[in-house]
Amino acid sequence: MDEANAIAEAAAEGAAPKGGLLGLLPEDGILGRLFTMDAALTAIRVVLAIVLGAVAVGVIVTLIRRVTVKRMDARTSGLIVKVAQYLGLALIAVNALDAAKVNLSGLLGAAGIAGIALGFAAQTTVSNFISGFFLVSEKTFSIGDVITIEGSTGVVYSVDALSIKLRSFDNQLMRIPNEALIKAKVTNITRFPARRLNINLLVTYDTDMDRLRTALLDLAAANQFVLRKPEPLYMIQRFGDNGVELLFGVWLAKDDWVSGNNSVLADIKRRFEAEGIEFAFPTRTVYAKAQAVEPLPPPRSRKKPAAKA
């Protein structure tokens, strides 16, 4: 019986390949110990997990992009796609590690500690990223809007996970972190379809106010850029130091803002010149009052004390 067992063991040893990778590498060498059949199978599983995962994530992200681009604004769509990409990458990584038979529980513990360290290091980045979500939910602006942030005005050029980029009107690129946008006062100039152009006028006190009102409303009615509705605003604001101050407001479509602005201001100047209405400038009125003036008393001469002998 022992003899038979010994023969069977010898046969089995003879049948099994010696060394790593079907016996191509020496069994006792470093490469032989590393590149075993088992390791090769694990490597194939890892590669498959990565390749198939990448394909699946690619398909899903493409679908999400197509759906969101049609139905949402560029900012929301971009953020959703980015989140889907990051989630997909994380899933691929976890799947690949699982295929490599890496104990994920230990890795997750280490990842927790690393996460805390990274959290401190990437505080600003994370803050910007999360701020991006709040900005999306508020829908304050989108690509193509003209916005003003802390004195900087420009067209929203791109909206990214961490920042937005503005193109100023003199063609400079400004990067504004999302975190700053959450804290700052943001004015969206082109959000609504129409804007009121407020024109502060100062006219001399001898102006006929009825004629002035008629002239302003007439020129607004004749100007092609001025919207017929809402109607122009005419308001006398106060009697100022230098003349009558008034506010004249006309509504313009947001796309006609620059042309309308130039056209209306030029029309006002032309019309005032034609009507003889004068713009007031800082003036000072000096009244010369005729009054009997008493002659001044003659200066008293101070007597010098007599010099002592």
Binding site: R71, F192, P193, A194, F225, R228, P230
Partner: protein
């Protein structure tokens, strides 16, 4: 009929087309191997009040920016085609009126067309036939910028209706106003989405499909109620640029976005 193909006025000065109160001038300039078509529109309201229309128009030189220019190559003809503005038209009624709950009114309103100048089926220029003023339909935060127009709501048998039908710069819209709300509605203006409408015409008379303006508690909505009764011999001169279904889907998405704030 003004809306047809016209020979290019080579060596003939300027071709003048009078369309309602607008005068459209078309001229040709030699440019290398082909020709440049130049066109402009003059409006009656720009002429001095009380002045008689001059028999000979005083036109600016062809290099003046008032002319719209288009390289037309060796083409022999250009076409004039009626069309609607590329933005909605807000027709303000001269005399606003109230319609009681449940009422269903039928009548006519007229709006101004645009002249599309085409060369070999390509649009060389678009010219409003009335000075193109704009207005805001709705509130300043959610309104729509529209072309401004004014009209009366007319019954079919009014003499004014027949007179307006003879103006080739106007298109007649058969209109039905329906108040399905429980309150009377004041009708001051009507917003027409021309992109959904066709132009049918014969001689000087232009007409669109029948429009329904349905007033309810949530607002007013324009829709089409088929072609309606067309004048005898009328043929299709211009097709809609957007189908009603497309517009419906687009509006549904807008509504969905407004509700869900996505």
């Amino acid at each position: 009929m003004i809306w047809r193909s016209w020979p290019v006025p080579r060596n003939e000065g300027t071709a003048v087309h009078r369309i309602g109160d607008a005068t459209m001038c078309v001229s040709i300039e030699q440019a290398g191997d082909g020709d440049v078509l130049a066109a402009l529109v003059r409006y009656a309201e720009d002429e001095a009040p009380g002045a008689r229309r001059a028999p000979q128009l005083a036109l600016p030189p062809l290099d003046d920016p008032a002319w719209s220019r288009y390289y037309m190559g060796k083409a022999d003809h250009y076409e004039l085609e009626p069309g609607y503005p590329d933005i909605p038209v807000c027709v303000r009624l001269h005399e606003p009126f109230r319609i009681p709950p449940g009422a269903d009114l039928r009548g006519w309103i007229f709006s101004h067309l645009e002249a599309k100048l085409k060369v070999s089926q390509a649009i060389a220029g678009t010219f409003p036939l009335k000075k193109p003023f704009k207005t805001l339909y709705g509130s300043p935060d959610a309104g729509v910028i529209c072309r401004y127009d004014e009209a009366d709501f007319l019954a079919s048998d009014e003499p004014a209706t027949a007179a307006l039908h003879e103006d080739p710069s106007l298109v007649a819209h058969p209109v039905r106003l329906r108040n399905s709300s429980s309150e009377p509605v004041l009708v001051e203006e009507l917003c027409i989405y021309g992109e959904q409408l066709s132009v049918f015409g014969v001689d000087r008379r232009m007409q669109s499909e029948r429009l329904i303006f349905a007033f309810n508690s949530s607002g007013v909505r324009m829709s089409l109620e088929g072609q309606g009764a067309l004048p005898p011999g009328a043929k299709l001169l211009s097709r809609p640029t957007v189908s009603g279904e497309e517009r419906f889907i687009e509006r549904s998405f807008e509504l969905f976005k407004a509700i869900t704030r996505i």
